[in-house]
C-alpha cells in the first residue's frame, strides 16, 4: 500500500476567504454603496426593489474590484506605509497575482451584469469609474502630482451618478450636483488625513500636498476647498432631489465644516505636533459624518416626496 504525504514547502499562509474580502476594501465599498443607493432612490424613475438590489450588488462588486486592482498596483508603497502595511498583499496573506486576477474578473463580471440587470449606459459608466480609479488615479496621478486627489476624487464621486443612471438610463443636473458634492469634499478630507499621516506618504514617496507643497499650503487649500464646497453642497437643495430639510441640514453641516477648516488654517506645524494633530484628526472624522449626513438628508427628502409631504412651491433651479 502506498502512502502519500503532502509537504507544504512554501511556508506562505493559505489565503482565507476574509483576506479576499479585505482586498475589496469593504469600508470604501460601504460609502460607494450608500451614495449609489441615494442616487438610485432619488431618481425620478421608480426601480423594482429586486432590480435595485441586484444593481447595487453590481456597483459594490465593481467598486471592490477597483479596490483590489488598486492594492495590486500599490503593493510596493502599501508595504512601507503604517496605515496600509497590514493589507492582504503586503502582509503576505494574498499573492499579488491573485489580487490582479480577482480584480480583473470581478470588474468584467460587475460591468456585464449591470448591463444585463439595468442598462448599457449604467454599465458603461461603471466601467469608466473602475478605469478612472485604477488607471487615471492609481497608475497615473497618485505618484505624479500633488493634485492627485483633486482629479482622482472623481472616481469616488461617480457612484451616485451610476445609481441615478440605473434608474433613468442617463444623467441629470441633480446627479451632477451629487457628483460635485463628493468631488469637492474629497480633497479636504484626504488632505486632513495627509496632515497627520505625513510621514507615511513621505516614506512612500507619494507627492501628497503636505509632502510636495508643505503643511502651510495644505492648510490654505483645506480652507479654500471648504469655502468652495459649501455652495456646491447647498445647491442640491434647489434641485429636483432637494428641499427645505436638506437646505437646513446642509447649512448647519457646512457651517461646521468651514469652522473646522478655519481651525486647521489657524494652526501651524508646531501647534499640531504639540497636541498630536487633534484638530486635524477631528476634522477628518467629522468630514466622514458630513458626507454621510448630506446623502442621508437627500434620502429623507426622497421619503417625504414619496409620502406626498414635499414642500409646495419649493424653488427647483436645477
Amino acid at each position: 500500500m502506498t502512502e502519500v504525504v503532502w509537504t507544504d514547502k512554501t511556508g506562505a499562509p493559505e489565503a482565507q476567504f476574509g483576506d479576499f474580502v479585505d482586498l475589496l476594501k469593504p469600508r470604501v465599498m460601504r460609502l460607494v454603496l450608500f451614495t449609489a443607493l441615494v442616487g438610485l432612490v432619488c431618481a425620478p424613475v421608480p426601480v423594482h426593489p429586486v432590480i435595485a438590489f441586484a444593481a447595487l450588488v453590481c456597483i459594490g462588486v465593481g467598486a471592490g474590484a477597483a479596490g483590489a486592482l488598486n492594492m495590486w498596483w500599490d503593493r510596493d508603497i502599501d508595504a512601507v506605509m503604517a496605515r496600509t502595511k497590514g493589507r492582504p498583499i503586503p502582509s503576505g496573506r494574498v499573492e499579488h497575482d491573485a489580487a490582479l486576477a480577482l480584480g480583473v474578473t470581478l470588474s468584467g463580471f460587475s460591468v456585464v451584469m449591470l448591463g444585463l440587470v439595468a442598462n448599457v449606459f449604467a454599465a458603461a459608466f461603471l466601467a469608466f469609474t473602475i478605469f478612472f480609479y485604477v488607471v487615471i488615479y492609481s497608475m497615473w496621478l497618485k505618484r505624479a502630482t500633488p493634485q492627485n486627489i483633486v482629479i482622482g476624487g472623481a472616481a469616488g464621486a461617480f457612484p451616485p451618478m451610476v445609481g441615478w443612471a440605473v434608474a433613468t438610463g442617463g444623467i441629470a443636473p441633480a446627479s451632477v450636483l451629487m457628483f460635485l458634492l463628493i468631488f469637492l469634499w474629497t480633497p479636504p478630507h484626504f488632505w486632513a488625513l495627509a496632515l497627520f499621516r505625513n510621514d507615511d506618504y513621505t516614506r512612500a514617496g507619494v507627492p501628497m500636498l503636505p509632502v510636495a507643497a508643505g503643511e502651510r499650503s495644505t492648510r490654505n487649500h483645506i480652507l479654500a476647498y471648504a469655502l468652495i464646497l459649501a455652495p456646491a453642497a447647498i445647491a442640491p437643495a434647489f434641485s429636483s432631489v432637494g428641499g427645505p430639510v436638506y437646505l437646513a441640514g446642509a447649512f448647519v453641516l457646512n457651517a461646521l465644516f468651514i469652522r473646522g477648516a478655519w481651525a486647521i488654517w489657524r494652526r501651524d506645524e508646531a501647534t499640531a505636533a504639540a497636541d498630536r494633530c487633534r484638530v486635524e484628526k477631528r476634522f477628518f472624522g467629522f468630514s466622514i459624518v458630513y458626507l454621510f449626513l448630506h446623502f442621508s438628508l437627500l434620502l429623507v427628502e426622497a421619503g417625504l416626496r414619496a409620502a406626498g409631504l414635499a414642500a409646495a412651491g419649493w424653488p427647483v433651479l436645477f
Binding site: V4, V5, A15, Q16, G18, V21, I51, F53, A54
Partner: protein
C-alpha cells in the same frame, strides 16, 4: 496519513464555504432578476443576425 486529512484542507475550508455561499447567492439573485424581468413583460430575446417575427413591431391586421 490520508491525503484528505492533511491540515491544508482545514485551512481551505473557510475559502470553499465562502465561495459556495457567494455562488449560491449569485444563482438566487439571477433567478430573482429573471422572474422580475419576465413579470414586467420585458423582451427576453435579442437580435441574433436574423430577424425573427417576434422582434418586429406588432401591426394591426388589415380590415
Amino acid at each position: 496519513m490520508r491525503p484528505d486529512s492533511h491540515e491544508i484542507y482545514g485551512r481551505r475550508r473557510s475559502r470553499n464555504v465562502g465561495l459556495g455561499i457567494v455562488l449560491g447567492a449569485l444563482v438566487l439573485l439571477i433567478f430573482a432578476v429573471t422572474i422580475v424581468k419576465l413579470s414586467q413583460g420585458q423582451s427576453m430575446e435579442g437580435f441574433d443576425h436574423q430577424i425573427r417575427p417576434t422582434l418586429l413591431p406588432a401591426t394591426e391586421p388589415a380590415e
